[in-house]
Amino acid sequence: MDFFTLTLAIPLVSGLLLTVVGERAWAPNLNIIASLGTFLASALLTVEIVAAGPRFAFGEMFFIDSLNVFFVALTAFVGLTTSIFSGPYMRNEQEHGKLTRPRLRLYKSMFQMFMFTMLAALTTNNLGILWVAMEAATLTTVLLVSLYRTPASLEAAWKYFILCGVGIAQALFGTILLYFAAERVLGETGNALLWTHLVDVKGQLEPTIMALSFIFLLVGYGTKVGLAPLHNWLPDAHAEGPTPVSAVLSGLLLNVALYAILRVKVLADGAISGSFAGNLMMGFGLLTLVVAAFFLSRQKDIKRMFAYSSIEHMGLITFAFGMGGAVANFAGLLHMTMHSLTKSAIFFTVGHAAQKCGTQLMEDIRGLIRINPVVGWGLMLGTLAILGMPPFGVFASEFMILTHAMKHHPWATPILLLALGVAFAAIFGKVQPMVFGDTHAKPLPHAPAIIPVFVHLGLVLMIGLWIPPYLTRWFHEAARMLG
């Protein structure tokens, strides 16, 4: 059995297993072991792909190259740390009477199924199956967002389902148009949706149809990325769902949706002369960045605020990929990695902080550094990292995006700087009193799992100071694929 099969099979099988056996004392450990297995398989798969080049799996059904293997490794890694984090976190929630045993069972099985759908979306070669897997990823998380069954969480889940459903329906129309364009070139074989076949003939695809198709796909998958103006579901879903779900939604699902757009952009760039697709992405990216930055200062709920911060970073990344070229693509990929690691680390600390203080309202969270210095410092360092402070890795990628923008699109630079500045002021001003200041909160029954936070932040710090040559080569390879 090869590593690719294992990467997909472990989450699927363990998801089913966790459904069948139900909530047992060892179920959290099984969840962690399964995630560890997925991560090891994906790491070995990465080694194999980087050494031996792209390959197919199961005929031409799946295709793994250095671009998507990078996302696979990242997804599996954050999946592993989230499952470690969620063990004590969910037990505390259970002790607080917020969750029952059947719901914990639902959480664990759906978490693994969610990992499976994302990994399938990343590795499939068929753009139709990519759509199916993206929709399945929404379906697996709808019931997780409403896990607490509070009125607000039900509303968030309903909005998530309907908005993402409408968005993804547009992506399906885009996929149909793409198939239509491809069929004229490739003929009525089943291959006309296979990306590897499409990329060979991308210069011959009808430009008008491809332009229309790309618009539908960008708006459709963009809804899931959280691009304005269809971002409304994101803060609600992140704030009302359990924290591990917020961490994987923010750190992983948004990346997977953006990956789908990147794959289609390669085709659109080949078919349409000029930089039509890139310009659209730059426009949407900038709009998203600005909208999110200004909403940030109005937030009262801590998870909601960091959800808006995710929207902001997704806007920046979309902008970077919109600029295109080796440097911007490299910066975009680096920023995606940094954002995933930092944002999930922040959500881990935020989860514990909110659990300790019994609220998500920022004005009631005070003095984290006194109750639990590790959580307090984790939140402070994570916030500094996400705001792009050197020496963290986010600084490196934001710096690359900014300098590239200055050189090639100088008009955008003031907008970028303004949005980043507003975001900095809003977030830092709110996090500072939460970390320092007086408090009356009591300790938690189960000690929080804080190691994942520092593993993530350590990696972000390391990449800020020194990117291993192995990683650089891999990023360069992936950036070149994007043209």
Partner: protein, 222 residues
């Protein structure tokens, strides 16, 4: 005009117009059970239209997708929805507050937009059913309008499913349908989606004692 067009193309156009007509009927239907029946009827018409395309063009896999449409959209989904309505005891739910004449006019405008958007694409198509692409896009937009104006959860979901019907019609009219594996995947997603929504409806009703989604408008930027 009718003499130049072969019978099969006329039949396809006829079925497509019936689908559009049903989309308008759904837009105007205030009661839940007749709405579900209209949706089932739309699925049946979609199946018949796919069958005619399959028969005329000899595309074997279209028989498969016609069968899939019949089972899923004309039988299984309406049955699940009927069961849900019975179990949730919302049989008598009547939607207030929709201005039907205004909705109809908005619908007509949407149809005109859809036809204009679809025109350049359908001219490039060589498929026998290319004339129906505009209708397909129009039914997608009408379903979208229905989702916007409805205030009850089940009609919104019917709108969501009707949108999928329109997309399916688009796929058969522009390209003779997507590859079978993709269609199976989409069908699975739709089915799982409706089942999850079914679970979700019970959660909403237990929490709010009603399926009126105007209860779900609390989360806003203040």
């Amino acid at each position: 005009m009718s003499a130049a067009i072969p019978l099969s193309a006329q039949l396809i156009n006829l079925f497509a117009s019936v689908i559009l007509l049903l989309a308008f009927a759904m837009l105007a239907q205030r009661r839940v059970l007749p709405l579900i029946n209209l949706f089932a009827l739309q699925g049946l018409t979609l199946c018949l239209s796919t069958l005619v395309v399959a028969f005329t063009t000899g595309q074997a896999h279209l028989y498969g997708s016609a069968a899939l449409t019949l089972v899923l959209k004309a039988i299984l989904l309406p049955w699940i929805l009927h069961r849900l309505v019975r179990k949730l005891q919302v049989k008598a739910d009547v939607e207030g507050l929709i201005n039907i004449p205004a909705t109809m006019i908005a619908g007509i405008v949407l149809v005109m937009i859809a036809f204009n958007v679809a025109l350049p694409i359908s001219q490039l198509s060589s498929a026998i059913s290319r004339g129906t692409l505009g209708i397909a896009l129009a039914s997608v937009m009408l379903a979208f309008l229905m989702m916007i104006i409805r205030t009850k959860a089940i009609p919104q979901v019917v709108g969501f499913l009707a949108m999928e019907n329109g997309l399916f019609l688009a796929a058969t009219s522009a390209t003779y349908g997507m590859p079978m594996v993709v269609e199976l995947g989409i069908a699975l997603d739709v089915l799982v989606g409706v089942i999850i929504l079914g679970v979700f409806f019970f959660q909403i009703r237990d929490q709010f004692d009603s399926l009126d989604i105007r209860h779900l408008e609390k989360l806003k930027e203040r």
